[in-house]
C-alpha cells in the first residue's frame, strides 16, 4: 500500500525511506527520493516563509490520482508522498516523494513525474511571505511545460 499524507507536522526522510524499503521488499533495487524545501532567496526579495493551504479530501484525492498514474506508467513497488500545509519558515521541508522500483530508470522517472504533477495538479495554494509583502504563487510556464512533457511520453513505451 502506498502512503499519501497531508500534514502540518514536519516529516523525516529517514523514517519514510526505511518504511519504503520495508514495503518494497527484496526485489527493490532502486529508491529515488526528493525533498522540496522553502528557499530563502527568490529574486531580490527575501522569502521569510510560506503559507500552504489545502482542501481536505480533495487534496488527498488529487495526489492519489497522480500516484495511480505513476503506477500505470512504470513498474514501481512502493510510493510515499508527504506534503505539509500551514505556516513554514524558510529552510523548512515542504514535500517528500519516495519511490521504490526494481530498476533505477523507473524510480527516477516516477519520482520526477510525481513532483512535476504535484506542482500543477495537486490541490494546494502556496503564499510566499516575503520581505516586501505576501504573494500567492502560481505554477509557472515551465511547470506546465514539464507536466505537458509527460503527456507526450506514451505510458506503454516507458513500461519495461
Amino acid at each position: 500500500m502506498d502512503v499519501i499524507r497531508v500534514q502540518a507536522d514536519d516529516f523525516s526522510l529517514a523514517t519514510e525511506y526505511e518504511a519504503c524499503a520495508t514495503e518494497a521488499g527484496r526485489d527493490c533495487g532502486a529508491v529515488a527520493a526528493f525533498v522540496g524545501l522553502v528557499r530563502q532567496a527568490d529574486d531580490d526579495a527575501k522569502v521569510v516563509g510560506l503559507h500552504l493551504e489545502h482542501y481536505p479530501v480533495m487534496t488527498e484525492e488529487s495526489i492519489e490520482k497522480i500516484v495511480h498514474e505513476a503506477h500505470q506508467r512504470w513498474s514501481l513497488q512502493h510510493i510515499r508522498v508527504v506534503h505539509r500545509t500551514g505556516a513554514l519558515n524558510a529552510g523548512s521541508q515542504i514535500v517528500l516523494v519516495v519511490v521504490a522500483s526494481s530498476h533505477r530508470p523507473d524510480a527516477f522517472a516516477a519520482c520526477e513525474f510525481i513532483m512535476d504533477l504535484l506542482k500543477t495538479e495537486a490541490v494546494f495554494w502556496k503564499k510566499e511571505i516575503r520581505s516586501d509583502g505576501e504573494v500567492w504563487i502560481k505554477s509557472t510556464a515551465g511547470d506546465y511545460d514539464r507536466r505537458d512533457g509527460w503527456k507526450n511520453t506514451v505510458a506503454s513505451s516507458l513500461k519495461r
Binding site: 493551504e53 482542501y55 480533495m58 495538479e121 495537486a122 490541490v123 494546494f124 503564499k127 500567492w136 511547470d143
Partner: protein, 88 residues
C-alpha cells in the same frame, strides 16, 4: 417555483482573503446551474464581492470534482471556488 435546497460554498486561498469568508451556506433552487449559483452568491455577498469568483482562472468543484461545464445542484452539495493551484 422550484423547491429550495441548502448547499455549502467554500472559498480558498486568495478568494478566502478577497471575500473575507471561507465558507457560507446558501439557499438555491433545486437543480440550480452555474448561473443560478452565481446569482444567489451575488444576492448574498454583493456584486463587487463576487467579482473575484468570476475570473477566468477560477475553477468550481462540486463535491470535490472540478466541473468545467454546467451542473445541477442538489441538497447538501459542497461547492468550492478554487484559485489556480500549485503544490510541491
Amino acid at each position: 417555483m422550484a423547491s429550495r435546497v441548502k448547499v455549502n460554498v467554500l472559498f480558498f486561498a486568495s478568494l478566502k482573503e478577497d471575500l473575507g469568508v471561507s465558507e457560507i451556506e446558501l439557499d438555491v433552487s433545486m437543480l440550480a446551474g452555474r448561473s443560478d449559483l452565481l446569482d444567489a452568491l451575488t444576492n448574498e455577498l454583493g456584486t463587487e464581492c463576487v467579482a473575484p469568483l468570476l475570473a477566468e482562472n477560477i475553477s468550481i468543484a462540486i463535491n470535490r470534482n472540478i466541473e468545467k461545464g454546467d451542473f445541477s445542484l442538489e441538497a447538501g452539495d459542497e461547492i468550492a471556488f478554487l484559485p489556480p493551484i500549485t503544490g510541491g
